[in-house]
Symmetry: D2
Subunit: 137 residues, 4 copies
């Protein structure tokens, strides 16, 4: 019996302590696709008065993982990159959308776009994963 994207991601989220610390909510899931949301807090700031780059990265990386694993094929991130185009501040509400650019047999390529509450893009993430052939659940 096949396992749905929701079941896979629900299983992942139960164990994902750091995504819970970040306050990530799942908004939408489809095969190879995920949409999430989180609210930036004061304890996520860096030393230059804006949100730490690791916050947007972590949101993007979780959303990438929810997209690339959700056919129940365990997929490990090999290479990820992120470009920051707009500062993120406390109380900003970030929405991340992961789109499958390429679904290969042994690897996959995903793009994650993060926008703020004003629908302005704040960061662009790219993730390459390796398909292990194992199942997540």
């Amino acid at each position: 019996m096949s396992v749905s994207p929701k079941e896979v991601v629900h299983h992942m989220m139960q164990k994902d302590a750091f995504s819970r610390w970040l306050g990530i909510e799942i908004l939408e899931l489809k095969e190879g696709y995920a949409k999430t949301r989180m609210t930036v807090r004061a304890d996520m700031m860096n030393g230059l008065g804006v949100a730490h780059g690791g916050i947007a990265f972590s949101l993007a990386d979780s959303t990438f993982a929810f997209a690339c694993n959700n056919r129940n094929v365990l997929s490990l991130a090999i290479d990820t990159s992120i470009n920051f185009v707009k500062p993120v501040k406390p109380k900003d509400v970030l929405t991340a959308e992961a789109i499958e650019v390429h679904d290969g047999k042994s690897s996959g390529l995903y793009q994650v776009i993060i926008k703020n509450q004003d629908n302005k893009e704040v960061a662009f993430f790219k993730g390459v994963c390796f398909r292990t052939g194992k199942s997540v659940i």
Copy 2:
């Protein structure tokens, strides 16, 4: 009067709530260089039983920021990428070393290597920053 790398990074760390949550310690600072350490905790795990990719990224990104800003020239990350080569687990002690590959007038290029307590490389980070011309302090 000039400001030392230590003064700049001390100033940054005081405001850097997220680096403190991560438990990042500064081990060494020189112009364009920084070395840091942190211990991975259970609340940093992801849904696949290993440390969330955002943890190693955040450690690298902080170390990159401590290196590229420490001449007291405010520098903003434009593009960063990370490759994960070994899983990270709770209680792992990660050491990150940021080296200045290129110190340009308007941009800089840095490499950060993260190793675990067994001196094994776990991740390779690359960061490009833009020099704003403003000072940090």
Copy 3:
């Protein structure tokens, strides 16, 4: 008097010996946008029987340059990356489309998608440029 995207790119193409060697044609130009085409030849192969990765990269890089310079603001590539998802062979006709993801004051972010004659994506390119403030013409 302002200079049009066509005038800027025409000026660039006249001096661009390598793009001419590649056989790159300009299909469409708008501010921050460019679309190009080239046909892969036998002298573009690598040692593994497919087109050299440098061919798709060079097509993408030219198209990126035609897009990011065409407001007559001289812009230099700082960081570029490319993901290869499908092999390219001799006689393939490649179309490259450069889209402006972010147009910042001091930097810009562009995505270039390369497709073959079957409308299949073969490579995804990302380019970050630095705006020098000088003009191209």
Copy 4:
């Protein structure tokens, strides 16, 4: 009977029409390592008066391929990135050195540094390859 790095790369170079057009020479080969050289020509210029970014990329990509395939394990580039830190001009003699950062079972990570005749670094390349399990020869 095992095949040496030299035999693998010699086999690759015989078919590598584009590396020959570039004038790439092999200087040194070891398992997972390659060092090459080429001289920049006028027909390699771009529209802004310097060598086309595709030239340094192609040199790096060839050197990466010679390093990552030379244990006679066919390896395909998945993700590559390059940072340009110094302009390249006609008659420049570029030396590229590919170092194996990580040699994994299913993937490998390599860094290629390109220097000019004054021993100045002009570009930094990173390549991730997928190990197909097939042999090159």
